[in-house]
């Protein structure tokens, strides 16, 4: 389908079919006794830093749905291409689908042209798509990558705005992380120093912000390759419960039991090895 033309703008500029459908659905649901499902937000701290040899991206691993922690080990650093990774904050589904779409489009492009995609191309595609949807797609992204023109770090906001800076933080814990970054960032840092800085920035977001927590993931992108360290640091809070909560078989009462014997005969038997590596 999309062989020659990678990025197609749909026929009409803005596509808002689903908005009127959602409003109608909400009206129906409010009148009844059910509520519309709340989308899972990541309520996050993500940060990125450009250093001498490449780009370091970091993220926490907590996903919240309102005030409840929905996922304690969610992956917020998404793969875009072998030389680019993207951290996402905001609505979880939006960040995942947007980055997946971008990754697929860039793979088709690099197969077509035989070149590695450049970071500016990815940023332009993202900006195009998010602006087209006028902020309805709640994805705040930090895109970092290394290409033939150098090391780049960009942020794309949900309304389609871009910023190209050497250090960034986004998400609900961004102010806490930015405090650490503003204090200790220096241009052309060494790789280890940059990793430590990003780790400290995410840690500050985790401790000060209720929407961020659990472990820290780090992704280091250099000309030589990518080092995706998940988790870079595990949470120091392991749940140490004192009592054991196990139930004997038979604790849940069986109210009725119905056994239906199935008449089966073996017709053919094949053995297939599963790859369990």
């Amino acid at each position: 389908m999309a062989l020659s033309n990678v990025v197609e703008t749909p026929a009409s500029g803005f596509n808002f079919e689903n908005v009127s459908r959602n409003v109608a659905l909400e009206g129906l649901l409010e009148g009844g006794h059910t509520k519309a499902p709340k989308p899972m937000k990541t309520g996050t701290t993500i940060a990125g830093v450009v250093c001498k040899d490449g780009v370091v991206l970091g993220a926490d691993t907590r996903a919240t749905s309102g005030e409840v922690v929905a996922d304690k080990m969610c992956a917020k650093i998404h793969y875009i291409s072998p030389n680019m990774y993207c951290c996402g904050a905001g609505t979880a589904a939006d960040t995942e689908k947007t980055t997946d779409l971008l990754s697929s489009n860039l793979t088709i492009f690099s197969m077509n042209s035989g070149r590695n995609p450049r970071v500016v191309m990815a940023v332009n595609i993202l900006q195009d798509m998010l602006f087209r949807y006028r902020g309805q797609i709640g994805a705040s992204l930090i895109l970092g990558g290394v290409d033939c023109t150098g090391n780049h770090l960009y942020t794309v906001g949900p309304y389609g705005s871009i910023d190209n800076v050497p250090y960034l933080a986004m998400g609900s814990g961004d102010l806490a992380a930015l405090g650490i970054l503003e204090d200790r960032f220096k241009p052309n840092m060494e790789l280890e120093e940059a990793k430590q800085l990003v780790r400290d920035a995410i840690h500050s977001g985790i401790m000060s912000d209720l929407g961020s927590g659990n472990n820290i993931d780090i992704c280091v992108i250099t000309k030589q390759g990518v080092d995706y360290i998940r988790p870079y640091q595990e949470s120091e809070y392991k749940d140490k419960r004192q009592r054991r909560y196990k139930y004997r078989p038979g604790t849940t009462s069986i109210l009725t039991e119905k056994i239906v014997p199935l008449e089966l005969e073996v017709v053919q038997e094949t053995v297939q090895r599963m790859d369990t590596a």
Binding site: G213, R241, R248, G250
Partner: protein
């Protein structure tokens, strides 16, 4: 704020499927809200001759933390502890009012108030503000006149009842079913109904708060446990997740 309802049925009328107006119609009035939600979870368990009141110590607002050391259990008398969570401003004022009333009672009647009496008094204090309620979820834990453990749980406008165990506050919906199962032995077949002793109860309370801190963002930092026995009130502090 959630208030207990005891009605049988009600009819709901609403605008179904009406499109929201997106056009600017004129000056927009932003109401000032006198309440804010400061988080926190409270728990109380009554045993044969003891009562436990436990609360976390995190005070939050929105996604920020105001304090990591703000316990929500307050000692009222030698035999009664109250746990208050919800809007911190109202929690402080309410405990001040209760303290003053306790002193007045002591001076007029020459004895301290019993747990049951404090519970009844709190109910009238809360209902006195029926039309501008105290945004506080209260749980009183203490010993009754016979020396047995007693727990009284309240809603923000004063409806109360005596319980064996109750959880209130932001993680109450997560803790209450676990307590129903472990203390009330609900939904279990063929399990011995052993009475709860103090050591097991304290362990259960610690475990239950560790679980709540894992999944509720407003609960964490530290756990303050007040154990009420006829010897007096003993306090214990246990660290919880800080993230």
């Amino acid at each position: 704020m959630k208030i207990c309802l005891k009605i049988v049925s009600g009819h709901f009328y609403g605008d179904n499927g009406k499109m929201k107006e997106y056009h600017y119609t004129g000056p927009v009035e932003h109401r000032f809200s006198p309440y804010s939600f400061n988080g926190g979870t409270v728990l109380a368990v009554a045993g044969e001759d003891f009562a436990i009141v436990a609360s976390d110590t995190r005070l939050s607002e929105g996604y920020s933390i105001h304090s990591r050391d703000s316990p929500k259990c307050y000692k009222l008398t030698n035999t009664t502890v109250i746990g208050c969570s919800g809007f911190h401003g109202d929690c402080l004022t309410l405990t001040k009012i209760i303290d003053a009333r306790l002193k007045m009672y002591k001076h007029s009647n020459n004895k301290s108030m019993t747990s049951g009496a404090i519970a009844a008094m709190l109910s009238t204090i809360l209902y006195g503000r029926r039309f501008f309620p105290y945004y506080v979820y209260n749980i009183i834990g203490g010993l009754d006149e016979e020396g047995k453990g007693a727990v009284y749980s309240f809603d923000p406008v004063g409806s109360y009842q005596r319980d064996t165990y109750k959880a209130g506050g932001s993680a109450s919906a997560m803790l209450q079913p676990l307590l129903d199962n472990q203390i009330g032995f609900k939904n279990m077949e063929g399990v011995q109904h052993l009475p709860l002793n103090q050591e097991k109860a304290v362990q259960l309370v610690k475990d239950v708060f560790i679980s709540a801190a894992e999944r509720d963002v407003y609960t964490g930092d530290a756990l303050r446990i007040c154990i009420v026995t006829k010897e007096g009130i003993k306090e214990e502090t246990v660290p919880l997740r800080k993230d």
